[in-house]
C-alpha cells in the first residue's frame, strides 16, 4: 500500500511486464544481500559464544585458533560485514521499491560482488592467522596486506552500491522535478551520503596502511591512523542506527496498519544525523595522548547534539503507535501497549530493539561524559554498551525485518513463524543478560579484549569472574536464538511453500493530514546537506590533524605480536 506521500511521488511510474521483470531482478539482488548477512551472522555468533565460554574459563581455545583470532573474526564479521550487507540490501530495496522504473540492477550486482570479494579476502587473512588485529586494526599491529585490501574492497563495493542508488534517485529527480524524493529513497540516499563521507576516513587510513604492510614504507604514524579510524568509527555507528531508523519510521507502522507520523520531521532527523555523524569521533579517543583537551571537549559537545534527532525519533514512533491505536478505538497507555502486534516478529524484533535502545542511549551519555568515561573506557562496560546498541536495536531490527523481507522477496511463506517469534524474544532475553553482566563487569574494572581476566589470581581481579559466567549464559541463549533465525530464514527458501496472498514488505503511508508536499523542498537538497556535512567534518578535524602533524609524530615500525 503506497500512501499519499509516496503515491504522489511516483508519478514517473511505468507499468507493464518488463517492469515486473526488472523488479524481480532487483529482488534477487536484495535477497543476495540479506542471505549473505544471515550467513555472516551465523558464523559471527558461533565465534561470539565460544568467546563468552572461553572468557568465563569454561573452555580453552586451541592454539591453532586462539581467542584473539576468534575475537577479530567476531568483531569484523558482526560490526563490519553483517551490518553492512544487511543495510546496503535494505537500502537497495528501499530505492528500488519507491523509485519505480524499468531498471537493470547490474551496477548493484557489481557492488555486491566487490563487497563479497573484499569480505572473502579479509576472512582468509583472519582465519589463517595473519591478521589478528581485531576489528579496529590499530597500527603498528601489522596484518597481512590481504586483510587491508579486503577491507578496502568491502568499502569500495558499498560505494558502487551507493552509486547505483544515487543514479536511481537522480533519474527520479530528472523525470519528476516537482515531486519530493520518496521517503524510503530519501532515507537510503541520506544515509549513503553519510557513509561515503565517513568511509573516506578509512580509505585514507588504508592509504597509509597498505604501502606500509607491503613493505614500501618503513614506519607508520600511529596517532594519525587512529584518528582516521575513529573519524570513520562513529559514523559507522550512525550507519547502523539510520538503517534501523529506516525500518522504525517507515516499515514498523505497517505491522499495525499505522502511518508515518511526519514526513518532514523524519527527513529532518535524518539530515541531523548526517550532519552530526562525523564531527564527534574524538569521543572514542578521550584517553589518547597527542590530542589536546580542547578538541576533546568540542567533540563531546557536538556528540550531545544527537539527543535531538533521537528524541524526535522516539516521539515519532510513539505518536505513530498512539494515533493508530486511537483510530482503532483503543485508548490508555496499557491498552495501547497491549494492542500492538506482539505476535508478529516483524513488529516484535524492532520493538524489543527500541526498548534496548533506551538503555543503550543512557550508556552512550555516560561514555560521552568524559568525567565518567575514564572509569569505563576500554572496560567490559563498552562491550556491554555496543552489544545493547548494535547487538540489540540494530540486529533485532534487521532480524525482524528479514522475517518480512525474505517472504516478500521470494514469494514464499515464512517458515515456522512461531519459531521466528520465539527467536526474537530469546535474543532479547539473552542480550539483556549478557549486556547487563558486561556493563557490571566494566564498572568493576574488568578490561575488554582480554582472553583471561584472572591475572594469576590477583586480588583486584577476583570480582570479575562471576560476571563472565553470566555473560557466557547470555551468549549461549543468543547463540540458540541465532540458530532459530537461520532455521527460519533458510527454511523459508528451502520449504518453498507458496503463500496464498503474495507476502509484502511495504513502506507505511504518511499520516492523514500530513502532506508530504508541504515538506520544505530544502530538505530534499541532499547534495547541499552533504557539502555542509563535509564542511563540519573539516572544521572538527582540521585542528586535531594539524596538531598531530605539528607535534612531529615519530613513525613506528610494524609488528606482529601474535
Amino acid at each position: 500500500m503506497m500512501g499519499s506521500a509516496i503515491g504522489s511521488a511516483t508519478t514517473a511510474q511505468r507499468a507493464g511486464a518488463s517492469f515486473e521483470l526488472s523488479r524481480a531482478a532487483g529482488d534477487l539482488l536484495v535477497l543476495a544481500h540479506i542471505y549473505t548477512a544471515t550467513l555472516v551472522l551465523g558464523i559471527g555468533a558461533l565465534f561470539g559464544v565460544l568467546q563468552g565460554f572461553s572468557r568465563a574459563n569454561l573452555i580453552v581455545m586451541p592454539s591453532w585458533f586462539d581467542y584473539y583470532r576468534m575475537l577479530t573474526a567476531h568483531g569484523v564479521l558482526m560490526a563490519l560485514v553483517f551490518t553492512t550487507f544487511f543495510i546496503t540490501g535494505l537500502f537497495t530495496y528501499a530505492v528500488y521499491r519507491s523509485v519505480l522504473r524499468d531498471r537493470s540492477p547490474r551496477l548493484g550486482w557489481i557492488g555486491f560482488c566487490v563487497m563479497l570479494v573484499g569480505t572473502a579476502m579479509a576472512a582468509v587473512a583472519i582465519l589463517n592467522g595473519s591478521a589478528t588485529v581485531l576489528y579496529t586494526f590499530y597500527a603498528p599491529l601489522k596484518a597481512s596486506p590481504l586483510f587491508y585490501f579486503g577491507a578496502t574492497f568491502l568499502v569500495l563495493g558499498t560505494w558502487v552500491v551507493a552509486a547505483d542508488l544515487f543514479l536511481n534517485v537522480a533519474w527520479f529527480k530528472r523525470t519528476a522535478p516537482e515531486a519530493r524524493i520518496p521517503l524510503p529513497a530519501f532515507m537510503a540516499t541520506c544515509t549513503m551520503i553519510m557513509w561515503i563521507i565517513a568511509t573516506l576516513g578509512v580509505v585514507a587510513e588504508m592509504g597509509l596502511l597498505i604501502p606500509w604492510s607491503l613493505g614500501w614504507t618503513s614506519g607508520i604514524d600511529v596517532g594519525l591512523t587512529r584518528m582516521f579510524f575513529w573519524y570513520f568509527g562513529h559514523p559507522l555507528v550512525y550507519f547502523w542506527i539510520m538503517g534501523a531508523y529506516t525500518i522504525w519510521y517507515a516499515v514498523v507502522p505497517t505491522t499495525y496498519k499505522g502511518a508515518i507520523f511526519s514526513d518532514a520531521l523524519t527527513r529532518l532527523a535524518f539530515i541531523m544525523l548526517l550532519l552530526l555523524s562525523t564531527p564527534v569521533g574524538l569521543h572514542h579517543q578521550y584517553l589518547d595522548p597527542g590530542i589536546g583537551a580542547g578538541w576533546k571537549w568540542m567533540h563531546a559537545m557536538t556528540t550531545y547534539g544527537v539527543v535531538i534527532p533521537s528524541f524526535m525519533t522516539a516521539f515519532a514512533i510513539f505518536a505513530s503507535f498512539e494515533i493508530a491505536a486511537r483510530k482503532a478505538g483503543v485508548r490508555g497507555f496499557v491498552n495501547i501497549v497491549r494492542w500492538l502486534p506482539w505476535k508478529n516478529p516483524v513488529f516484535v524484533g524492532p520493538a524489543l530493539g527500541m526498548i534496548m535502545f533506551i538503555f543503550g542511549g543512557f550508556g552512550g551519555i555516560v561514555n560521552n561524559s568524559y568525567a565518567m568515561d575514564v572509569l569505563v573506557h576500554n572496560t567490559m562496560w563498552i562491550v556491554g554498551h555496543f552489544h545493547i546498541t548494535v547487538g540489540g536495536p540494530a540486529a533485532l531490527t534487521f532480524i525482524g525485518a528479514s522475517y518480512g523481507l525474505i517472504p516478500a522477496l521470494t514469494g514464499r511463506k515464512l517458515f515456522a513463524p512461531k519459531l521466528a517469534l520465539v527467536q526474537v524474544y530469546t535474543w532479547f532475553v539473552g542480550m539483556a543478560i549478557m549486556s547487563t553482566a558486561m556493563h557490571w563487569a566494566g564498572l568493576l574494572g574488568s578490561p575488554r579484549r582480554t582472553s583471561d581476566v584472572s591475572y594469576f589470581g590477583a586480588q583486584g581481579a577476583a570480582t570479575w569472574h562471576n560476571e563472565m559466567l553470566w555473560a557466557a549464559l547470555g551468549g549461549a541463549i543468543i547463540a540458540v536464538s541465532v540458530v532459530m533465525f537461520i532455521i527460519v530464514a533458510t527454511g523459508t527458501y528451502v520449504a518453498n511453500q507458496r503463500a496464498e496472498a503474495k507476502p509484502t514488505f511495504d513502506f507505511a503511508p504518511a499520516r492523514a493530514g500530513d502532506d508530504a508536499l508541504s515538506t520544505p523542498p530544502v530538505l530534499d537538497r541532499l547534495g547541499r546537506w552533504g557539502v555542509l556535512a563535509i564542511a563540519l567534518a573539516v572544521l572538527a578535524y582540521a585542528g586535531p590533524v594539524a596538531q598531530q602533524i605539528q607535534a612531529h609524530a615519530y613513525l613506528a615500525p610494524g609488528m606482529r605480536t601474535w
Partner: protein
C-alpha cells in the same frame, strides 16, 4: 513545516538535557580542571631506552606526598613491575610504549589512559586507600595481552 505542540515540549526537554550535560562537563573542566589525559608530547618509539627519563623507568619523589612515576610499556609487561607509595600520595604517571598500542589502567581508580607508540601519556591520581592495586593493559596488544599487568602498592 508544522511541529506539534507536544513534540515542541518534548524536544525542549531534550534540549534542556543536552544543555545540562554540556554545562556539567564544561563547568568541571573550567572549575575543577577536569579533562581527560591529553598530553601532547612526542617521543621516538624506537629510542625509548635511550630517552631520559624513560631510560630509567621508576618512581621519583618530587615533594612530600608527591611522586612522578615513569613507565615503559612493551609486549607484554610494564616497567617498573611494582611501585610502593605512602597512602595519600599524589602520583603523576608518565607512560610510553616501545612497540604497539597499549592501555594503562588501574581499575576502580580514575587512572586510565591509552599508551600510543610515538607519544607520552600522562595521568595523575591521589591514592587515598591502602592496598595492592592491579595495573593492567586494557588495549589488545598481542598474544600475551592478558598477562600484561603490574602492581601499585599503597601503604
Amino acid at each position: 513545516m508544522h511541529v506539534h505542540r507536544q513534540e515542541r515540549i518534548w524536544l525542549t526537554f531534550g534540549l534542556a538535557i543536552l544543555v545540562l550535560f554540556a554545562a556539567v562537563i564544561t563547568t568541571s573542566a573550567i572549575v575543577d580542571g577536569f579533562v581527560p589525559p591529553s598530553r601532547v608530547q612526542s617521543i621516538d618509539p624506537t629510542k625509548v631506552g635511550q630517552t631520559p627519563p624513560f631510560d630509567h623507568p621508576g618512581l621519583r619523589k618530587i615533594a612530600d606526598g608527591a611522586y612522578e612515576a615513569y613507565y615503559v610499556a612493551r609486549v607484554f609487561s610494564f616497567a617498573p613491575a611494582e611501585i610502593r607509595v605512602p597512602v595519600g600520595s599524589r602520583v603523576t604517571f608518565y607512560v610510553t610504549s616501545t612497540d604497539v598500542e597499549h592501555g594503562f589502567s588501574i581499575p576502580e581508580t580514575g587512572v586510565n589512559t591509552m599508551v600510543t607508540p610515538g607519544w607520552v601519556s600522562s595521568v595523575s591520581h591521589t591514592f587515598k586507600l591502602r592496598g595492592t592495586f592491579l595495573l593492567v593493559c586494557n588495549e589488545y596488544c598481542g598474544a600475551g595481552h592478558h598477562m600484561m599487568a603490574a602492581k601499585v602498592t599503597v601503604e
